[in-house]
């Protein structure tokens, strides 16, 4: 298993080299972003989480979203679900720690919302944030845009 993991991450890094930066995926100003390409919108102690336009663009057609149960605890950078495109499976990590208070049930019947509306109707979970201090570990929209460009042009 370990060797497969190494192989997988190396495959990914090589894929990254080979895919030219395709264009300017949109970012939203007031959101915070994780290096694993999720966004979070914080309102009081509640946070809404989804995947970025950049991520959905690279994933392609999303055909299934594996949603967690309401009431489950999540940790910052911890995986809470998965998105499946035609060919790929990817973990979704939580940008914040806390307890899941709502999941977007609409994605069960319409997973494509993640592609068509990544920042609005394609949201994935809502979390009651337990440690707002963690938000400083995240990027703002400007930093995230730059991060995507750098990641695409790396190597």
């Amino acid at each position: 298993m370990a060797s497969r993991l190494v192989w997988a991450s190396r495959a990914a890094s090589y894929l990254r080299i080979s895919i030219p930066f395709r264009g300017f995926a949109s970012v939203v100003k007031d959101l915070k972003y994780a290096t694993s390409h999720e966004w979070v919108k914080v309102e009081g102690d509640k946070a809404t989480v989804g995947i970025t336009d950049h991520a959905q663009d690279h994933l392609g057609d999303v055909v299934y979203v594996e949603l967690p149960e309401v009431g489950t605890s999540v940790k910052q950078d911890g995986s809470f679900g998965a998105v499946e495109s035609v060919k790929a499976t990817s973990d979704i990590n939580s940008p914040v720690s806390g307890k899941i208070i709502e999941v977007n049930e609409e994605l069960s019947s319409s997973p494509g919302l993640v592609n068509s509306s990544p920042y609005e109707n394609g949201w994935i979970i809502k979390v009651e944030v337990s440690d707002s201090g963690e938000l400083k570990n995240l990027m703002d929209s400007e930093q995230y845009s730059k991060f995507c460009e750098e990641e695409d042009s790396k190597h």
Binding site: M1, A8, A11, A12, Y14, I19, E38, D61, K87
Partner: protein, 407 residues
């Protein structure tokens, strides 16, 4: 096994890499500069191809269309694939047929000149070294195409046996067609579009048949075959004429035939129930287990005389212990290595390829189960990320094939 959102390449490339595991490290991850390029490389890039390392080559995994759209377009209109990474090979000499029959399960002698078949190269244990489409051009010329990821090991295997065969006085030699490129033109528009580019009557060339002819002014090897389940052709063209031919095909189709990448090619072959070597067939899997018993010629079953024949003939008599079958499943798409359980929760096998079918809009998969659990309609559980989802054994192909056969 999974990466974050960014590590998309993992599952795409692992599923598509036809290399056997040992060579992956060495060949698959050679530096980008070491990757081989087909003569259409710049053409792919110009048309928006996302180039990825594949079996030592830099190949387009998709173009501007999504894999979903690209797959559907191939079945509705047509797809043009650059498959020049695959290895074309000619065996020549008056003993070519008996030589090849030692290595494959097909009745090569029984093929009419100008016809071909899918076959399997076997090892001493009856396992598959590779699958290959072979054509008997004439009694002293066999043309075959082997997988890119298996090229080195296949050629070494053939060469070793050829030396021994020649030492005993056999007349056979080979030519590797590195001077040629290979294009696959698939889908309902394949024949009408190609007909614009040749004077030969393609309505007389049926599925599995082969002809050497002029296409778009170049001397081509044309086989009515493919890897999508659709009607179509594989065209071996001199490399200096490949770009012109690709352009001419796209132009004659008025944009309906689109460049199609490895991603859609994998969806298409899965929908057609066709094996991907390295996933669905490996060194330890026999053609009988893989559901390719039909490819073992009748005479070969009676006479044997190919590597691993004892094992394979015994399996034909007793029935194999495991069998390749198809599945529909609920929940997330099953991927290779997903566990298959019976309704009682007992392990009965493993998925070898799986994904979301762009044409059927549901999850399809293929894998191996213990004999007894292989009948269509058998209910199973498929385990994805620790959860059991309902599945059912299903006949393949998932999407009906449309091969062009005489009526």
């Amino acid at each position: 096994m999974r990466g974050g959102l960014w590590q998309l390449g993992q599952s795409i490339t692992s599923r598509l890499a036809q290399t056997d595991k040992k060579t992956v490290g060495r060949r698959f991850f050679s530096a980008e500069s070491e990757l081989k390029k087909t003569v259409l490389y710049d053409f792919h890039v110009t048309h928006g191809g996302k180039m990825v390392p594949f079996a030592g080559w830099s190949m387009p995994i998709q173009y501007k269309d999504s894999i979903m759209d690209s797959t559907v377009n191939c079945r509705q209109n047509g797809g043009l694939f650059d498959v020049s990474h695959m290895c074309g090979l000619s065996l020549k000499g008056k003993d070519s047929i008996p030589f090849l029959e030692k290595l494959v399960v097909a009745d090569v002698a029984g093929l009419a000149p100008g016809t071909g078949t899918l076959t399997v190269f076997t090892n001493e244990k009856g396992g598959a070294i590779d699958d290959s489409v072979i054509t008997k051009v004439t009694d002293d010329h066999i043309y075959l195409v082997v997988n890119a990821g298996c090229r080195d090991k296949d050629l070494a295997h053939i060469e070793e046996h050829m030396k021994a065969f020649k030492a005993k006085g056999g007349d056979v030699s080979w030519h590797i067609h590195d001077e040629r490129s290979l294009l696959a033109l698939q889908g309902p528009l394949a024949a009408p579009v190609l007909q614009y580019l040749t004077k030969d009557d393609l309505s007389k060339l049926y599925f599995g048949e082969f002809r050497i002819l002029d296409i778009n002014g170049a001397r081509c090897f044309l086989t009515r075959t493919g890897y999508t389940g659709e009607d179509g052709f594989e065209i071996s063209v001199p490399s200096e004429n490949a770009l012109d031919l690709a352009k001419a095909i796209l132009e004659k189709s008025e944009g309906k035939v689109r460049l199609t990448g490895l991603g859609a090619r994998d969806s298409l072959r899965l929908e057609a129930g066709l094996c991907l070597y390295g996933n669905d067939m490996e060194q330890h899997i026999t053609p009988v287990e893989a559901g390719l018993t039909w490819a073992i010629g009748k005479r070969r079953r009676a006479e044997g005389g190919f590597l691993g024949a004892e094992v394979i003939l015994k399996q034909l008599e007793d029935g194999p212990a495991i069998r390749r079958v198809g599945f529909f499943s609920s929940g997330p798409p099953a991927r290779s290595h997903s566990e298959i359980q019976n309704e009682g929760g007992k392990n009965i096998g493993e998925v070898t390829s799986g994904g979301f079918s762009p044409c059927l809009k549901k999850n399809i998969a293929m894998g191996y189960v213990k004999s007894g659990s292989h009948k269509a309609g058998t209910k199973v559980k498929i385990i994805v990320r620790g959860k059991a989802y309902d599945g059912v054994v299903t006949k393949m192909p998932f999407v009906p094939t449309k091969y062009y056969k005489p009526t």
